[in-house]
């Protein structure tokens, strides 16, 4: 009898423990759900903040562009004003189709100069010698020489004096204020080292489908990212990339007449009377202030990390510079990776970027 009671008590204890365990599991589940909810909310607010920031930046960039175009301040603006008195390439001066009669030259019209005599072309467009700083990129030979103007580099055959080649100096030719061709609207930003996540197809919830906040979409053509109105293709912003082929010997668009080098590189690359510096995804460019032509690539940059983001694909290998290896080496509790002037700490368990631990350029 006593034995039976003991057995019954044991069974009750087991059941009780089980219930208690279930209760704990439920509590844990609730806590986890609450945490996930908090994380979700945080992600949403971060995304909203990011979106707001992007939007502000874009507006600021556009404002700056307008300001530079209109305010007539500083050497670069003076340069822009100089150009404004001449016929310009469609891709250089931000000249929309409706203003062609005010001095802009669309690519189709420029193409008509192919095969014409150089002296005849000079009556239509203002052509100048290639600036010394980029002459090594367009070297004169016994067969031909180069002249530039209106957003194009013209190659002239010495034997016939005919223009035998035309190279666009701006990137593809679609500037803020113009319309992106509908045939390119399905051309998304490539996935080179995660660029498509930095410049998603749209900025809507989930960063996936077609239409986003302010109706802005990212599209890609010929080495350049275009932020366009999803419906109309109206170009709001232009973001050239070095790895996409936008580089030396080409011109900065006048809309980018402001210094935008990332903070950690500013002590190294600052504007001087001989050279200016300008940042676009992938590179810090050095350019000749008198012609706006890119003379060299001062530094190559990758898209960078944000604190809290997962470590992007492709950073499997430890890459910390020599002088910092004694301090920042991988351990089971922390990993370190270098990127764009900074050393980042990564949590090996979650593979999230947790902190910037050193900035090696400042």
């Amino acid at each position: 009898m006593k034995l039976q009671r003991i057995e019954q008590r044991q069974v009750r204890n087991v059941e009780h423990n089980q219930m208690r365990g279930n209760q704990l599991a439920r509590d844990r589940g609730q806590a986890m759900r609450a945490e996930m909810k908090a994380n979700r909310l945080e992600r949403v607010s971060t995304r909203e903040a990011l979106r707001d920031e992007l939007r502000t930046n874009r507006i600021e960039r556009l404002d700056n562009g307008m300001f530079v175009r209109n305010a007539n301040l500083g050497t670069r603006v003076v340069r822009a004003e100089d150009f404004s008195n001449r016929a310009r390439g469609y891709g250089v001066g931000g000249c929309p189709p409706g203003l062609m009669d005010k001095g802009c030259m669309p690519p189709g019209q420029a193409a008509k100069l192919l095969g014409t005599r150089f002296s005849d072309a000079e009556r239509i467009v203002t052509l100048g010698s290639v600036p010394y700083s980029v002459r090594y990129l367009y070297p004169d030979t016994n067969d031909f020489y180069y002249r530039y103007g209106d957003g194009y580099m013209y190659r002239v055959d010495r034997g016939t004096s005919l223009i035998d080649a035309l190279l666009p100096l701006a990137f593809g030719g679609y500037m803020p204020g113009s319309y992106f061709p509908s045939s390119y609207m399905n051309s998304y930003v490539p996935d080179y080292y995660g660029l498509n996540s930095f410049y998603p197809a749209s900025y809507d919830y989930g960063f996936g489908s077609s239409y986003g906040y302010g109706n802005t979409c990212n599209r890609y053509a010929n080495g350049v990212i275009y932020q366009v109105d999803c419906m109309t293709g109206f170009v709001e912003n232009v973001i050239p990339m070095y790895a996409g082929g936008y580089g030396v010997g080409q011109m900065l668009p006048t809309g980018y007449g402001y210094y935008n080098v990332p903070d950690q590189y500013r002590s190294l690359y600052y504007d001087t009377s001989d050279y200016g510096y300008w940042y676009a995804p992938g590179a810090i460019y050095q350019y000749d202030p008198s012609s706006s032509m890119i003379t060299s690539v001062a530094a190559l940059l990758s898209p960078g990390f944000n604190i809290g983001q997962p470590l992007p694909m492709g950073y499997d290998v430890y890459n910390v510079p020599y002088d910092y290896r004694a301090t920042y080496y991988d351990t089971p509790s922390a990993m370190y990776r270098y990127n764009n002037g900074n050393i980042y700490q990564i949590d090996p368990a979650t593979m999230l970027v947790t902190a910037i631990v050193a900035s090696i350029l400042t």
């Binding site: 700083s133 053509a221 001062a298």
Partner: protein, 194 residues
């Protein structure tokens, strides 16, 4: 007398033009700010690689010679001259119209930070036989083959590190026996607007 004066005048013009060209080349070699030169150190990758080699010739045509003389640090995969010769004709042509393609190829062989061969090998071991490396223009896969470190591009081209860990003040160079190509050729500017 008149002819003589004309000749002298012409000579003066030519001398002036020559002087300008010299100025241009001076600008090219001293283009960096003093701070950038100091950060890059004395023996940079650009200074260490053979100036007459095919890699530096291609780098100059893409405006990357200044980059490799800059602060960095970078890890650069340098194909030997024989590897350049094996590439399809015209791949490394320095003509302006080929510059976009050249840029895409070279940036696919430059990586951010300092990666020694030992670092790559350790990552391969951790990754159970392979590691992914983000380059400035794409992604490479690293594996081991017969004790040597092999890098494969997205098209399946393989390059073996023949001489690694050549250290410079602004990074490290690994010599490889083949050219690695980017995912797709960099697009050329459109011939006409849509």
């Amino acid at each position: 007398m008149k002819t003589q004066a004309l000749t002298l005048g012409l000579a003066a013009i030519l001398l002036a033009a020559g002087g300008c060209n010299n100025k241009a080349s001076e600008n090219r070699t001293n283009a960096q700010t003093p701070e950038a030169q100091k950060a890059a150190g004395t023996k940079t990758i650009a200074a260490g690689l053979a100036a007459n080699g095919k890699f530096m010739a291609a780098a100059k045509a893409a405006g990357l010679d200044q980059t490799l003389a800059g602060a960095g640090p970078y890890t650069v995969l340098v194909p030997d001259d024989a590897a350049f010769d094996k590439a399809p004709a015209g791949t490394f042509d320095a003509k302006p119209e080929n510059r976009a393609q050249l840029t895409g190829i070279l940036t696919n062989m430059i990586l951010s930070g300092t990666m020694l061969v030992d670092d790559i090998d350790k990552a391969i071991d951790r990754g159970k036989g392979k590691a992914l490396l983000a380059t400035m223009g794409g992604t490479l896969t690293a594996t081991k083959d017969g004790g040597k470190t092999v890098l494969t591009d997205s098209k399946g081209n393989k390059a073996t590190i023949t001489q690694g860990d050549e250290k410079y003040s602004n990074g490290v160079v690994h010599h490889v026996d083949a050219v690695l190509m980017p995912a797709k050729p960099a697009a050329q500017p459109p011939t006409k607007a849509g």
